[in-house]
């Protein structure tokens, strides 16, 4: 098995567990590369990649850009705020115009769920989803699972808890698919208003009490409250949310579980979903997640690019 089963990375739902293992295996090598004095390899030197971001991003955009540059790809960046999208151009037209300038791959973030899927049907190039609305964020899920695998080894039977705003979170959905494909057991925890109605149909158990949930899990992935996506009030106040679902070292000590691995996809709202001492504590793998992000994205781009034949 030396080939991904797909031409695009649109979501974790459409890839197999073999694909995930292949990505991890390749990421191991890239992790070694980015720790060298010269952190660059010439693999993608004949490829041009467009990073199209219709939504704000720091981490993901930087991470993708670094991954592309360390593979020696040519990179062009495009953000919707300074483009003709404002003049009324459609998504497919915008991307086709970019492709007409001989671009080989597109990394796209878009506020609408399914935007990448739509694009994949209408344009002729490899597309990597860097987050589409509240749908999926596959590379984040891959780097989360990769960081966990580094810490825990095989994920089969491991218990992972996802806490927070599940309803608006693409990270939660991708993480659920990814961890389940790797054999881990996933549960979600959060205020009932922020849990999708049919989440249990994915084989995910819902827990409403954070203390109980923490007693059960090996890993807690704390999600950010996405206030920018919330058009109505889902809970009375941030203070009340923190009291019910915020993670603090006091809480962990109280239940005697200070061995739980703490993850966060970023950006962190310190003092809301997670306190500073936990975020910077020794169980936290938040910065490892960021480091691994570059290696995992290099692996994804390398494997996808390797499947497209050179035009020569």
């Amino acid at each position: 098995m030396t080939k991904l089963s797909t031409k695009h990375l649109l979501g974790i739902k459409n890839i197999t567990s073999e694909d995930i293992h292949l990505i991890f295996q390749t990421a191991d090598n890239f992790k070694e590369v980015i720790n060298r004095p010269i952190k660059k390899v010439p693999s993608l030197r004949d490829i041009t990649i467009a990073n199209i971001f219709f939504e704000n991003s720091t981490r993901t955009k930087l991470s993708f850009e670094l991954a592309e540059k360390r593979l020696s790809a040519d990179v062009i960046n495009f953000s919707a705020s300074s483009s003709s999208v404002k003049k009324g151009e459609t998504l497919v037209d915008t991307v086709n115009n970019i492709l007409a300038m001989k671009v080989d791959m597109v990394v796209m973030r878009h506020p609408n769920p399914g935007a990448c899927m739509h694009l994949a049907r209408h344009v002729n190039c490899s597309i990597v989803n860097a987050g589409d609305g509240a749908h999926e964020h596959p590379t984040q899920a891959l780097l989360d699972a990769y960081s966990l695998r580094e810490k825990l080894g095989d994920l089969t039977g491991k218990k992972v808890l996802i806490v927070g705003d599940i309803l608006h979170s693409r990270v939660a959905l991708s993480n659920i698919f990814c961890l389940q494909k790797l054999g881990a057991e996933v549960r979600v925890c959060g205020p009932a208003t922020l849990l999708p109605k049919h989440i249990e149909s994915l084989g995910v158990k819902v827990m409403l009490n954070l203390k109980e949930a923490l007693r059960w899990c090996d890993v807690a992935n704390m999600l950010r409250i996405q206030l920018e996506r919330q058009d109505i009030q889902y809970f009375p106040s941030l203070r009340e949310y923190t009291m019910q679902y915020g993670l603090s070292s006091k809480l962990l000590k109280e239940i005697g579980r200070d061995d739980i691995i703490i993850m966060h996809p970023g950006p962190i709202n310190r003092g809301v979903e997670i306190t500073t001492d936990i975020a910077d504590g020794k169980q936290s793998i938040i910065l490892e997640q960021v480091e691994n992000g570059v290696a995992v994205r290099m692996a994804v781009l390398y494997l996808l690019a390797g499947q497209t034949k050179s035009a020569l």
Binding site: T2, K3, L22, Q25, T26, D28, N29, E32, V33, R36, P37, I38, K40, V41, P42, S43, L44, D46, I47, L71, Y302, L303, A305, G306, Q307, T308, K309, S310, L312
Partner: protein, 229 residues
């Protein structure tokens, strides 16, 4: 004593004994007679389904001994020298050469690393499948060192080209040499020549030469496969 290569009926120009046989007509005559008598003689192109053995375990062991001595002859002092095996197939060869040398110079520490060249290859996006990389393990600096690159079979020279690119990303070695077990002559696509050669073979492009290693060194061998195998 009869050389094991001879019993297989193959010439290796690099083998000193055989050089003599090739250029001495009297010797050649004797050899021709002895070939006729040999019952197990099979010409190089008569390939069985399992492939033709080019080097048996004993012959391969002699070759490894000679390679180790050749390296020793050129580099008496190993303090500034490092062996770097090209992953994945150069690694078992490198291990054995280093083992042999550590018997020759027991008081010297011999550096040995592994270099993966997958990301430096020039056939990326030109083959059907993506190559899965192996691990690079270089726990020493290559800056200013004398490096001997090791690979099992030298064919087009493209792997060695990418290995040099990969190596130079780790620093500036003083001097780089190339050691190969099998040199497939006349098939080079790039101007690359080895400094230490185990055996030279002349085979057509479609054929494959494979080196097999066993952990206990009891059944190491070099096999030639025809194109359809």
């Amino acid at each position: 004593m009869k050389s094991p290569c001879e019993s297989e009926g193959i010439f290796f120009a690099s083998d000193a004994l055989h050089l003599k046989e090739i250029f001495d007509p009297f010797f050649l005559k004797i050899l021709n007679i002895s070939r006729k008598v040999q019952s197990n003689f099979t010409p190089i192109f008569a390939l069985s389904m399992e492939g033709k053995t080019l080097l048996t375990n004993t012959a391969l062991n002699y070759t490894l001994d000679r390679l180790a001595f050749e390296v020793y002859e050129q580099h008496i002092d190993f303090s500034n020298l490092a062996f770097i095996s090209i992953q994945p197939r150069g690694l078992p060869l490198g291990k054995r050469i280093v083992e042999k040398l550590s018997i020759l110079v027991p008081d010297q520490k011999i550096l040995h690393g592994a270099l993966d060249v997958t990301f430096y290859r020039d056939d990326f996006r030109r083959r059907e499948e993506v190559l899965v990389p192996s691990a690079t393990e270089l726990d020493f600096s290559v800056e200013g060192k004398e490096i001997i690159l090791i690979d099992d079979v030298l064919f087009t020279g493209r792997t060695v080209r990418s290995a040099m690119d990969a190596l130079l990303d780790f620093g500036r070695p003083k001097h780089v040499e190339l050691l190969v077990l099998i040199d497939r002559r006349f098939s080079r696509e790039l101007p690359v020549q080895p400094d230490y050669t185990g055996s030279m073979v002349d085979v057509v492009k479609a054929e494959r030469v494979k080196v097999e290693w066993t952990d206990d060194n009891t059944n190491n061998r070099v096999i030639l496969f025809s194109s359809d195998q």
